[in-house]
Subunit: 160 residues, 2 copies
Amino acid sequence: MKMGAGVEWMVHACITLACAPAGAPVQAGALAEFHGLPKAYLAKQLQSLVRAGILRSTPGVQGGFSLARTAGEISLMDIVVAVEGPADLFQCTGIRDNGVGAQLGMTSGRLPCIVQIEMSKAEMAMRKALAARTIAHLIESLDSGAPKVLGVTREWLQAL
Amino acid sequence: MKMGAGVEWMVHACITLACAPAGAPVQAGALAEFHGLPKAYLAKQLQSLVRAGILRSTPGVQGGFSLARTAGEISLMDIVVAVEGPADLFQCTGIRDNGVGAQLGMTSGRLPCIVQIEMSKAEMAMRKALAARTIAHLIESLDSGAPKVLGVTREWLQAL
DNA sequence: GCCCGGTTACTCGGATATATAGTGTCCGAGTCCGATGGG
DNA sequence: CCCATCGGACTCGGACACTATATATCCGAGTAACCGGGC
């Protein structure tokens, strides 16, 4: 049970793209160089965000990726879902319906599985926390905690 | 990012073991038959819970597994940690320290990574929810919602 | 000088290999129960 | 008849294959910019 590294990459990538001047497209190679990541795989993950409607891709020379919405409209949850998929963390396989137990009436009137319920509640707590935090929040935190970071990023993107 | 099926199995197994008379040991084969699961793999997962101190294993003929603590002292979080390991769901690889960005001072005075912080907060919300629910809670819910379930389980265990 | 078409180089996009973790299975070490022989 | 001992069978325990997912990579399709020629 571990979250793929792509999520971390994409969050950092979105923060970086939010620093791009006037939403100008930034090519995958530049992002890869900036974060020290393999370009090809990074591009694959970026495509996931494009499919999810989070990023916009502009083809051709001088093309690249840019935010499709404002930073305040992109939550961490959106990124996680785009990269990891919408499937729940805990997937009930319905073992109540298998084996001897099922023959003895464990399913008991089609009530929902108690384990499934509790797991969903816990997972929902995480999803809610993730949905409450947007890229804009992260940028705000960085701005007050380490303003230099965003500054050098903006400069580097300007110089391309 | 998905939770292994072993977690579901172990939660159901703990519920079943809590129904055993006077904490009598139940052998892995019986649990496998009751839930319709592969015996060998189920045994492997049960061993994880033994290592975590949740279950107690009694060897020899007429041996098996039994709860090492009361049902109220076994939280869902304990089971998840025992099966999936204690590692965090989101593991920060510290990409701030890589690539061009790092050379421009992205690390900025050794502040903790903002992404790591937010992800940990969200994950902590889930862990807290899981730690708040114990096997005893689940049994209580079953008892009020579907008392028949626990009844047939106890009977079947008695007959062995 | 201005406009149009072809070329070119660069971009994303999906199809293709490799590494890692999850899933499933097997056989060996240890232990208790029961039978057996002796006292 | 009671007890100690031996044998046996059953249990868990960890070591060994197989499968699915995540990671990493490559080459092709598409597009915008650029250059050259014509008007």
